[in-house]
Amino acid sequence: MPQSTAERRAAPVAAAPSKPVGATHRRPGLPWWRRLSRDRMLVLFALPGMLAVLLFQYVPLLGNVIAFKAYQPFLGIGESPWVGLENFRIIFNGDPAFLAALRNTLILTGLQALLVFPAPIVLALLLNSLFSDRIKRLVQNVLYLPHFLSWVIVVAVFQQMLGGSGLLNNFLRTHDMAALEIIGNPDVFHLLLTAQIIWKDTGWATIIFLAALSTVDPQLYEAAAVDGAGRLRQMWHITLPALKGVIILLFILRLGDSLSVGFEQIILQQAAVGRGVSEVLDTYVYNNGIVGGQWGVSAAVGLVKGVVGVILVLGANKVAHIFGEQGVYKS
């Protein structure tokens, strides 16, 4: 079979070598059992990974039915009695703990959209404007590093630097200045969380913007310069449009996570600052469900959160299409 298609294969390969070229020898017109027996090894290869994905990503989706049940661990999911929308009623009738978690989540999402999202764009523009490649690469390698540290390490580092007996306050005290209360201070907790995210991931997030910028044709800049455009106009008319698609793509993906504002990071610092400002939807689910045993209500919150995330992504993608952008996927 492969030999017979050898000639048909040759043409597209020569024409577009960068395109995936495996398609031609696999005739899709065959009945499915023939294709299965032809590709049985490939299917066998994919099987363990697919099973892991199905078991740990899709089976739990079914487990969300406990949001409609009064789940009792000793009865199991099947035996627990149905309660309809009772769990949702508890949430939406204004459980104050839930409302506080929702409020903190929205504040953090707002701060992140405002401060965390644009930071890597600005940094990428700055890096892109450097003339020395060597310095650029050095700076990149330094700024990528925090991304690979765990949240435990990042939180520990922040405590050691900014805490009551941390480096900053030691310095202030030895120079006869008042110590700053940053760690464990509810008033600045949301800003502290935001600063930690910026410290950890801004450098890493520049990668995708720099990749987009590296595809810009240098001749565009030359042409603009010949036409008398200064650096700022070049940035406005060439660099930023080159980034537009990536920015929209990342913003849509970010929307899907907008109700997930950093479980690990927050749960680590909850003891220091109290639940009042630190409880978010994810920690609410964890604290009430796994720790507190209110399975049904917590699962309902988790379900609402997941559904809202999916709706936001699909909706934003729709809006992107309306404005003629590609978005995450084509319609």
Binding site: A23, D39, L149, W151, A211, G289
Partner: protein, 318 residues
């Protein structure tokens, strides 16, 4: 067959060679260099960013090796040690809680990374031949799983249901496959020309032989990057350990780190199974922090040159 031609140059079209990345902008006539104060401002801003990243590490490493009297004089962290004193490392690594946690973390990372990388490569290769049986629906299943997560409670119930609570497998199996990594691997495998695989097929090689003898050796760069991603996520795993492990005897380094550094529980002689006087607490704490950092600091320089390449394949195509 043109096998030899293609072997010489493994295909990765999205990567522009470095010379192209040195955009010709500085050579453009009519565009002067920015004024000196702009250059100074840039250097200053980037210098401050880099210092903000590096300074904490210097202070942490310094404190972990500083002598006791210097630490008590400074009242905590020191920026530069007067002398080198490795007692803190000797104490935490001579057995006890920290040593055990470090061994558990190493074990989970090694086993998990090997397992993840192996199954992900197989999965990605299985999906990388267009038109093969069910590859399209399987890819969609993976892509769709990246858009949502089932939620903390149902996932916990499942992990408990399959009996993984309080086993180290709970740190590995639920996060074994990362959809993003599979997609990156798949795009890389798809760029391996089919003629190459075809010629092997004609020579009588089975799919496994093709996979292990041709596909894997051609993909070393992307394997290095994806392997690093998996290894880092296992080494850093905190969420799974917190939720699934009640038995503190199984705790990996991250949970030990939380107990002794973030919650500032003092380390005692019994924790460390050390008989003599312990070094100053800040030294001990910072030594634990350094131990949890070191693997990443060691691996990072070797792999960072692959990042841009590997990520771009994923980012530009995905």
């Amino acid at each position: 067959m043109s096998a030899t031609r293609t072997v010489e140059r493994p295909p990765n079209p999205p990567v522009t060679p470095p010379t192209r990345q040195r955009r010709g902008r500085r050579l453009v006539l009519g565009t002067p260099l920015p004024p000196w104060y702009v250059q100074v401002a840039k250097a200053l801003v980037l210098g401050i960013f880099c210092a903000l990243v590096i300074a904490p590490f210097v202070a942490i490493i310094s404190t972990s090796i500083a002598p006791r009297d210097q630490i008590s004089r400074a009242g905590g962290l020191v920026l530069w040690p007067d002398a080198v004193n490795l007692d803190a490392y000797r104490s935490i690594l001579s057995g006890g809680v920290v040593t055990q946690a470090a061994l558990i973390s190493v074990g989970v990372t090694v086993v998990g990374t090997a397992l993840s990388l192996f199954t992900s490569c197989l999965l990605a290769y299985g999906l990388s031949r267009p038109g093969s049986f069910a590859s399209r629906p399987m890819l969609l299943i993976i892509l769709f799983s990246m858009l949502f997560s089932a939620g903390i409670i149902p996932t916990y119930l499942l992990v408990r249901g399959v009996g993984l609570i309080d086993t180290l497998w709970a740190l590995i199996l639920p996060t074994m496959i990362s959809g993003f990594n599979v997609v990156v691997l798949r795009s890389f495998f798809m760029n391996i020309p089919d003629e190459l695989l075809e010629s092997a097929r004609i020579d009588g090689a089975g799919e496994w032989r093709i996979f292990s003898g041709i596909v894997i050796p051609l993909s070393k760069a992307v394997l290095a990057v994806i392997g690093l991603f998996y290894a880092v996520s296992y080494w850093n795993a905190y969420f799974n350990a917190l939720i699934y492990l009640n038995d503190s005897g199984l705790w990996p380094l991250q949970l030990v780190l939380r107990t002794y550094v973030i919650n500032e529980t003092a380390l005692s002689n019994t924790d460390l199974s050390v008989a003599e006087n312990l070094p100053a607490q800040p030294s001990l704490q910072m030594a634990i922090l350094v131990v949890s950092l070191v693997p990443i600091l060691i691996v990072y320089p070797f792999l960072q040159r692959h990042f841009a390449k590997g990520m771009m394949i994923g980012a530009v195509k995905g």
